[in-house]
């Protein structure tokens, strides 16, 4: 089977370690990933807990398929209440840690309480220890991983950890495994830091055994054979996500100067592969989409140990701050990775401060004398260091743009670009409206993988329409449409992406963004579990997890009013093919959100109806 039937629970206040056993029916209902994570979050958390209080649980949960020798299913989720948004915190990562936890015999790790002094968790199969981390506290991620592996005498130990930004409570600190795979968003590293938990080191000697190993091998071999042939996976394999910069720039949707322009003159340099050494991948993934970057020049050195900047980082810290110097962006990426900072929220918070500076809302007295102007690359590194240390202006910007706007004053708020308090990723809904729906509806704040992306469905012979016809998405949808066709596309594919997260799927391995088709994914679930399951049952499981997430947010007081976009998105872009045109209307977007509620069986306030909860077997959530 692809699961162990065991959940590890650790209370850091009492130092109690427990193992809870779950029957097969639990996995059939909640699968893995955020299904299991949300189950425990809803069971264990109080309604009004602050995200940084000990009572806020922090849950790590690999997907149902994670740990098998199956292609592109390396993912695990971290679930908690987000200190950045006050809503659900949910962030996925690939890498190697999730598979190792499964091999150690656990399907999830539920952490509650808080340690008085810094600790790390050591999990070696069923032996679990809470160990002193006083000697690691304050250290960056590279030295910590090296020290732990050396101390434990095992280079195969997988380490998930926080850097100094998480210790200092930067509200967008993230969590990293293997130095380059991030649970990037929602500030969950600050939750880990609030628990005085520096790292979780895992080593498992077990092996998950699928019911039908041969079928998994067949699909793995097919994937490995096709990766370099399929147009989408071959692009990812050969060039990684940075290759997207040029297309998005030509479309007029490359976030530039705090999402004002859409076209950036330095895009060619940001997309350059000059410093890219080699591709790097995740556990059992033939796509191998990540880049390793190294710079060895007189003015800047970038350490290859920490990977390299992806599309999101290149745009957030590059074009969106008006900075086209690839070496500087790669260096800031390295600093973020050493210290565990979310590069998207960081870039967006800096670009927001730059816009406020240029508009005269704040001045040098507010910025420790720094000229926060778009394109001023000289301020980037010192400013990021101040944020990590929470010094001067860095202490305020460590709270994210929305909280900074409270200090900057009401005039600044029109320059925010966020939803539910989380800054938008690097996809502009004014050139693909589906992203507007994604940002508004995403349960954990603006997220670009709540559903699939519009361009794949723009033509009837596009990859999305061809591959997802089996879900009922048989027609092309205009990227600027906001009617029912777009709502249906986003609704169906948001449920699909929820299924992906339950299973541990990486979107860069599977359709519509990559090559592995839906029927092969279903085959893998059957092969892994032996269940006579179907896409109908999987989609219901996807809906179930979304309903639980929605219910968590309702308990935090978030309903329809939270499903809105910043007014910035309703202003026209200033450059590119869409310059001066209003392509997204607030009324249309809000109408589309209400249509989505109706399709999902949610009520007019965006809450999940009692009937829907009961249909999904979530009667225990009905008050």
């Amino acid at each position: 089977m692809s699961f162990n039937g065991k959940i590890l629970k650790v209370d850091l206040t009492s130092s109690e370690v427990k193992v809870e056993e779950q029957p097969e029916s639990f996995y059939r209902r909640y699968q893995g990933g955020h299904g299991i994570g949300l189950y425990y979050l809803l069971k264990e958390s109080k309604h009004d807990v602050d995200a940084l209080e000990p009572e806020n649980p922090l849950i790590f949960a690999p997907g149902l398929l994670t740990g098998l020798r199956a292609p592109a299913v390396p993912r695990y989720v971290v679930i908690s209440k987000s200190p950045l948004t006050g809503a659900l915190g949910k962030s996925e990562a690939g890498g190697y840690w999730g598979p190792e936890l499964k091999k150690a015999g656990f399907d999830a790790l539920v952490i509650t309480g808080s340690s008085k002094a810094p600790v790390y968790l050591l999990i070696r199969d069923d032996k679990v220890e809470i160990k002193d981390a006083g000697h690691l506290w304050g250290s960056e991620t590279g030295p910590v991983q090296e020290k732990l592996r050396e101390e434990l005498g095992d280079k195969g130990t997988q380490v998930v950890q926080i850097g100094p930004a998480g210790e200092k409570g930067v509200l967008y600190a993230n969590i990293v495994n293997n130095l380059a795979h991030f649970n990037g968003r929602n500030g969950l590293g600050a939750v880990m830091g609030s628990k005085n938990l520096k790292a979780i080191a895992v080593r498992g000697s077990g092996k998950l055994k699928a019911k039908n190993e041969e079928r998994l091998k067949e699909i793995f071999r097919w994937t490995a054979g096709q990766v370099k042939e399929h147009p989408l996976s071959s692009m990812l394999h050969k060039h990684g996500t940075p290759a997207g910069i040029k297309t998005v720039n030509a479309q007029g949707g490359l976030p530039t100067n705090n999402f004002e322009l859409g076209v950036f003159e330095g895009a060619e340099e940001l997309a350059s592969e000059d410093y890219s050494l080699k591709p790097k991948g995740c556990y059992a993934c033939p796509v191998v989409c990540k880049r390793v970057v190294e710079v060895n020049e007189d003015d800047i050195v970038v350490d290859k140990m920490y990977g390299g900047p992806e599309y999101e980082t290149l745009a957030a810290l590059g074009s969106n701050c008006g900075i086209g110097d690839l070496k500087v962006v790669a260096k800031v990426n390295e600093i973020c990775n050493r210290n565990t900072l979310d590069t998207i929220t960081l870039g967006m918070t800096i670009s927001f401060a730059m816009k406020c500076f240029e508009e005269g809302i704040i001045g040098p007295d507010d910025t420790d004398g720094m000229e926060l102007k778009f394109g001023n690359k000289d301020v980037l590194i010192p400013l990021v260091e101040k944020i990590i240390k929470r010094e001067g202006i860095g202490d305020l910007l460590a709270l994210g743009s929305k909280k900074a706007a409270e200090k900057f004053g009401p005039e600044s708020k029109k320059y925010l670009v966020e939803s539910k308090g989380q800054e938008a990723p690097m996809h502009d809904p004014r050139v693909k409206t589906g992203l507007g729906l994604q940002y508004a509806l995403s349960i954990n704040g603006a997220d670009h993988w709540f559903a699939q992306h519009d361009p794949f469905f723009a033509a009837e012979d596009g990859f999305g329409v061809i591959e997802m016809a089996g879900l009922g998405l048989t027609e092309a949808v205009d990227p600027l449409d906001t009617g029912m066709a777009k709502v249906r596309l986003i609704y169906y594919t948001s449920v699909l992406n929820s299924v992906y997260d339950l299973l541990g799927v990486c979107v860069f391995g599977y359709v519509a963004r990559s090559l592995i088709p839906l029927n092969f994914l279903l085959d893998q679930v059957v092969a892994a579990t032996g269940w006579k399951t179907s896409w109908f049952e999987l989609m219901k499981a996807g809906e179930r997890a979304m309903a639980m997430a929605r219910e968590f947010n309702r308990r935090q007081g978030l309903e329809q009013e939270a499903d809105k976009l910043s007014e910035s998105f309703y202003r026209p872009l200033a450059k590119g093919p869409f310059a001066g045109k209003i392509t997204l209307q607030e009324e249309d977007l809000n109408d589309a959100v209400e249509k989505y509620y109706a399709l999902a069986g949610w009520n007019k306030n965006g809450g999940v109806s009692r009937n829907k909860l009961e249909e999904l077997g979530l009667g225990w959530l009905v008050q």
Binding site: H427, P455, G462
Partner: protein, 76 residues
């Protein structure tokens, strides 16, 4: 004559250097037909432009135009 620019990583579909080709003008020639000639599927293309304006794949091309083709992208 029609100039076609295979931008970004689409240049891998053009034999040799550079990423620009000149095609003899033919009536009713479309971008879709050019894609087929170079072994590209329509799904490869994220953006097609003719003389700097966004174009669909089936629009007949006039003599003297410049076509720019960009690979599809979504979700970084």
């Amino acid at each position: 004559m029609i100039t076609v620019l295979f931008k970004s990583i689409l240049n891998e579909y053009v034999p040799g250097e550079p990423d620009q080709v000149e095609l003899t003008y033919e009536p009713d020639l479309t971008i879709r037909a050019i894609l087929e000639q170079y072994g590209l599927q329509p799904g490869h293309i994220g953006l097609a432009m003719v003389d700097g304006q966004v174009s669909d794949l089936d629009c007949p091309l006039h003599d003297g135009v410049t076509v720019e083709l960009y690979p599809i992208f979504g979700g970084g």
